[in-house]
Structures are given as C-alpha cells and as structure tokens.
C-alpha cells in the first residue's frame, strides 16, 4: 500500500485532466462526483497508507518514481518522502480538502462555471500534495508554485469583476516575491551542499556548516522569505485579505486550511537549517509575534466577515511562526492541524451565512441570525471557541503548547509570551465580536433569510465541528521528525501562567460582550474620540501596508513603465536613422538639375583636387 503513495496526487490530477479536457460539457452531477470523489479516493488511500506506515514503525519511507532531471550531481527526482510531518500534512490536505470539496458541490451548485471550479480545486489538491510529499526542494518548489497558481486562478474565479482579477494578481505577485527569495535559497543550498534532496541536504548542512555560519544564516533567511510570502506573514501579508475575493470554499481550503500553512511546513521541514542559524530562528519568532499582533488589531476593526477571518488566519499563522521560532516544531504543526479544522469550519460556516444572505459580507448588516441559521450558528460558536482557545477545544491545546514554548525561549521568552497572551486576548475579542454581531441582537436586514441545509453542505460542517472540538486529542506522530529539536521536556511553570493563559481569551470575550451585546460601552462614543478614530482607521487599513507598498513598489514601476513605453534604446537607432536621412537630404539638395551648377561643381572639384595635389 505504501508503494501506492503516488496515487495521492494522481487521483486529483486525473480529476483535473478529465474536467479540463471535457471543457465543461459534463453534467453537474458527474462533475461533482469527479471533483469530490477524486479527493475522497485520495483521502482513503492516505488513511490506508498512514495506517500501514504507523504500523510499520519506520521513521520514514521513500518512493522513487522517476528521475526528473539528471545533470552531474543535480538529480532531483519525482520521489515521494513520507514521514510523520508529511503524513500529518497529507491527511489534513486530503481530509479537510475532501470535506471542503463536498461542501462546494452544494455551495457552487448555481455557478455556471461549476466544472472549471472543481478542475482548479483538484489541481490545487494535487499540487499541495506534491508540496508536502516531495523528497527534494525542487519538487517542493513545483508544488509550491502550483498551489500559488491555483490560488491565483481561484481568487480570480469570478473574472468578470476586475477587482477580483487585481486581488488574484496581487496574491500571485506578492507571493512570488517570496518565491524568488526561496529560489535563490535553493541555488545557494545546491551550490554549497551539492544536493537538493531535503534529508541529504540537512545532513550535509549539519556536517559542513558551523552554528551561526553566514551561509546557514543566508540560506535560512532566503527560505524564510519564501515562507513569509506563502504564509502571509509580515512583511508580505498584504495579499491574503484581498484574496477573499474568491469563492468562500476557496478561502477555507487554500487561504486558511492548507496553502497558507505551506510556509510553516517549509520551515518545519528544513528546521535543521534554522537551528544552525539561531538569529534567523529568533527572527522567525518575532515575525510571528509582530504578525499575530498586527493582524489581531486589524481583525477587530474589519466589517467584512471574510476579511475578519482572513486577518485571524494571518494572526494564527503568526502563532505557528512564533512556535517555529521558539523551536517548538511539533507545536507549530499541531496548531497548523487544529487551525485547519476550526478555520475551515469558520470559513465554511461563513460561506453558509453569505449564501443565505445573498452574498452579503458586512457583518453589521446581519444581526440576530441564530434562529434562521442554526447550523452556521453552532459552527461559529464552536469554531470561535476553538479559535479563541477556550479550554477543552482543539485550539486550546495547541495554543497552550505554543505559549509555553515561547516562555521557555532563553532571552526574550517573557516578551514573546506576553505578546502571545495579548494576541490571545485580541482573538477573544474579534472572534466573539463576529459571533455577537452576526447571530445575536436585532436583525439588521435579510429578515427572510433561510439556511440552505443540503446534506452536502451540512455534513462537512458537522464533521468539522467534531474535529474542532476534539481535534486537540489527536496525537501527531512527529517525534521522529523533530528528534533533534530541543524543548520537549515538560516545562514547569507556575499556576499563575496557566491561569493567565486561560483567562486572556475569556477577558477578550468579556470585552467583546460589553461592547457588542450588552452595549455597556458605546462604540460610537469611543469612535468620536479623535485618537481612537485615527487608530481605528490605521488598523482598519491593515496598518497602512498596502498604501506603503503601492507608493514604494507599484507606483514607481508603473511610472517607469509609462515614461518608457516606447523603448529609450530604440530612440538611439531612430537617431541614427534620422542622421542618415538628413545627410541624405542634404546631399540630395545638391542635385539641382541645373547644368551650370553641375559644371561649376565639377570645375571647382577639379581645381580643388589639383591644388591639393600641388600642395602636397
């Protein structure tokens, strides 16, 4: 069974090909079967393979398919590498992916481009599986770019609206900035270590590079560049909120559960390099911290239901980066998994809300929808509880681990911990702000809204609710992968620390309650304060990063493009042409047609030549 691991990406790839080649001529039923079924088959095989792999007790398993390109030492192949880390990732991708596919069969049922949607979705799953299963960085890069492409295609899925196209291009180009750094990192690693096979490369790095060597720092930094691009961390986070332009299942699958966590996967996969470059690892922690706080602030101010969730995704991935920076590799991957459950749940539930309210995105135009949308309501309650890390939900266990690991970091540990706790407090505020505003209070419109509770949409929500609640009990088999990682011993911390960590989200929920439920605090009065108002505007714009990038990068590029539309260099040749032409015209003018003039010039020329001859 393990040998059949190549089936995993093959099923969705076949689904993609059959949907593309039939070009939308298949009936919807069959499209749904192909689209969701291929991922389902993939999930089934993933489960069987995992069972066998775990039973075998091996640390890893390699399946070599074919050599991709072989030039001298450079021999990356289409080889799949399975260990605890890729096992967890592949189960999340196929499992959550299948649920989202199933949900989409209902969600997208009225869309004219049903077949195109599933084609892209299947291609995405195939590419994402390549990313996590590839045994070398080139194959990983293939998946990496592949998921970026699918993300582009799906954000711009409703292509009639140019804004969607803009968001899609922005996502692709911004992540490609990171990808470029990563590509340079690949060149560096190959040039220095002579291989791009991940395991061999890590081993060679450990042998050849001293702790903190400049090469290790450069390599880790470059890979981090790729990771922050894909995972929407500072400073490349600006694309993710706009990426919400795509259909909601896309946001659930690509921009919450799987693709955006690829950066976390990359860092975890190459953690040896980061251990060799402690400064970069510390940078990872601080990037995570800054991002989670920045996104937390912003999420509190947004009005668009999907943008709130998008910023919360950025913030949660910030936690994962914090964990990576703290060396708690397993905690990061664990949070990745629980986050995939509850964030997929939240997005899919948001999709149900949006669909029921005829594509209304503004939460302040909803209100009091708990009776009308019961499934969405309970999904949001459970999802938000897990997101806010209330005790006994899945998010609690993973966030707990991360914060404890942050505290254990030597040096700035306390700082990281405090930041993380503040972030948890914000998470409490914004997640329940959403719940209170949308589901409680008075109805603000869409009174007749009714939930479309088709089983294909309800069943995934139910299953994800269970996972979001109980996912924290899943044991991730990561010990063998991160054996070199430090910080596995149970940290002995005071009860106070635990109490603070548990209290922080409750405190946030309380604040949220006072503002948005009981209205003890009046929001309008607060906004009347000029300081609060300008802060709000600053946070709302995502800390002004978009405007900044527009000014620093986009506008100069457009300016350059505009002033040099017709190629400066060509004007040199145009000059050459015009010189030749004017010389020609000048000489042509001497051809007057007057015989006398010709005779005179002949005589003058003769005199000139003779006198020259005499003089010389």
């Amino acid at each position: 069974m393990q040998d059949l691991i190549w089936l995993l990406p093959t099923f969705p790839m076949l689904g993609f090909l059959s949907l593309v080649l039939t070009g939308g001529s298949l009936p919807r039923k069959i499209v749904a079967v192909i689209g969701a079924g291929s991922v389902g088959l993939s999930f089934l095989s993933a489960v069987l393979i995992s069972a066998q792999f775990l039973a075998s007790g091996e640390d890893y398993f390699v399946k070599e398919l074919w050599v991709w390109m072989a030039i001298g030492e450079f021999t990356p192949g289409f080889n799949f590498y399975l260990d605890g880390l890729s096992l967890v990732m592949m189960l999340i991708i196929t499992g959550v992916g299948f649920l989202i596919h199933l949900y989409s069969t209902g969600f997208m049922v009225d869309d004219p481009a049903y077949s195109r949607f599933f084609a892209y979705m299947n291609l995405f799953v195939a590419a994402m599986l390549m990313l996590v299963l590839g045994d070398n960085l080139v194959l990983l890069y293939l998946g990496w770019e592949g998921v970026g492409l699918c993300s582009y295609l799906l954000i711009g899925f409703w292509y009639e609206n140019p804004d969607n196209g803009y968001a899609a291009r922005k996502a692709f180009v911004v992540t490609r900035v990171g990808d470029t750094a990563m590509a340079i990192g690949l060149f560096l690693l190959f040039t220095q270590l002579g291989t791009l096979n991940i395991q061999d490369m890590l081993q060679a790095a450990q042998q050849q590079w001293a702790m903190g060597s400049p090469l290790a720092i450069a390599a880790a930094l470059l890979l981090l560049g790729g990771a922050v691009g894909k995972s929407a961390q500072l400073p490349l986070q600006t694309w993710l909120p706009d990426a919400m332009a795509g259909p909601t299942p896309i946001s659930a699958l690509i921009h919450a559960a799987t693709m955006v966590t690829a950066g976390v996967y990359l860092v975890a996969r190459t953690h040896v390099l980061f251990e060799l470059a402690p400064r970069v690892q510390m940078l990872v922690a601080f990037v995570g911290l800054a991002t989670l706080l920045m996104a937390g602030f912003t999420a509190m101010t947004q009005r668009d239901i999907k943008r709130i969730l998008a910023y919360s995704t950025i913030s949660q991935i910030g936690y994962m980066f914090l964990a990576l920076g703290a060396g708690a590799w397993s905690a990061a991957v664990f949070h990745l998994m629980t986050h995939a459950f509850f964030k997929a749940l939240l997005f899919l539930a948001a999709g149900t809300v949006i669909l029921s309210l005829h594509h209304e995105h503004d939460i302040f135009k909803m209100g009091g929808k708990r009776k009308q949308l019961p499934i969405a309501f309970w999904s949001f309650i459970i999802g938000s509880a897990a997101l806010a890390a209330l005790p006994f939900t899945s998010g609690f266990y993973s966030k707990d681990e991360i914060l404890l690991a942050a505290l254990a970091v030597e040096g700035p540990g306390m700082l990281l911990w405090i930041g993380g706790v503040i972030g948890a407090f914000f998470t409490g505020i914004y997640s329940f702000r959403l719940v209170f505003v949308v589901f409680f209070g008075d109805s603000q419109g869409h009174h007749e809204a009714k939930e479309e509770a088709h089983w294909s949409m309800a069943a995934p929500l139910m299953l994800l609710m269970v996972l979001a609640l109980l996912g924290g009990w899943i044991q991730v088999p990561l010990d063998a992968v991160f054996s070199s990682g430090a910080g596995h011993e149970e940290a002995h911390v005071s009860l106070l620390v635990h109490a603070v960590m548990i209290a922080a989200p409750f405190l946030g929920i309380g604040v949220s309650y006072l503002f948005f439920m009981s209205k003890v605090f009046d929001l309008d009065k607060l906004m009347a304060n000029p300081l609060a108002n300008s802060l709000h505007r600053f946070w709302f714009s995502g800390w002004g990063m978009d405007a900044l990038y527009q000014r620093i990068f986009v506008n100069p590029f457009l300016y350059l493009a505009r002033i040099n539309r017709s190629d400066l260099i060509d004007s040199f040749y145009a000059l050459l042409v015009s010189i030749t032409r004017s010389a020609h015209l000048m000489l042509a003018r001497t051809q007057t047609g007057y015989l006398g003039w010709y005779a005179l010039s002949m005589a003058a020329g003769l005199v000139l030549i003779i006198s020259l001859g005499v003089m010389l």
């Binding site: 051809q591 007057t592 007057y594 006398g596």
Partner: protein
C-alpha cells in the same frame, strides 16, 4: 627656324580653356554651352599639339586627332539631343530644363 616658345602656346590654350569654361558656366542657351565645350576641347587639343611640337613626339598629335573625332561625335549626339529637347520643351534654356533633380 625660330619656333614659337612653348609658354605662348600654353598660355593661349589656357586662355581658350578659361573662356570656354566661363561660357559653359554662364550661358543658359544650351547651344552656346555646347559651343563653349567645343572651345574647351580645342584648347586642350592645342595644349597637346604644343607639347608634341616641343618634345618632337607624335603622341600629342595623335591625341589631338582623337579629340577631334571625339568632339565631332559629341557634337553630333549633343545637337541631336538638343533638337529633341527643343521639340519636346520648345526651349533651349537649360535652367528651364532642370528636370533631373535628386
């Protein structure tokens, strides 16, 4: 026998040549231009004859004979062209006939 000094002959040829050249450059009637050209040809022919007399060599006289035939041929062709031109344009003014501009 007292021969004419070579300088005299050459000066005469030079004067004739200059006269012819001035004629070519200044006249607008193409018939006169052609005549001036004849004068120039004969001036050079005279220079050849003078030179051959000075050196006692026959080559110069041979050259003169050649110039003579050349001039005859040129006049024949030139006059033919002039007649054609006159028929076509009703004028022998070369400035009016400046068709061959570059």
């Amino acid at each position: 026998m007292q021969s004419i000094p070579i300088e005299h002959g050459l000066i005469l040829a030079g004067i004739l040549f200059a006269l012819g050249l001035v004629g070519v450059l200044t006249r607008r009637n193409i018939v006169f231009v052609l005549m001036s050209l004849e004068v120039m040809l004969n001036a050079s022919g005279l220079a050849f004859v003078v030179a051959s007399a000075r050196w006692g060599h026959a080559d110069g006289q041979v050259m003169f004979l050649m110039i003579l035939t050349l001039a005859a041929a040129e006049v024949a062709v030139g006059l033919g062209l002039i007649i054609q031109m006159y028929r076509k344009f009703k004028t022998v003014d070369i400035d009016v006939l400046s068709e061959m501009k570059g």
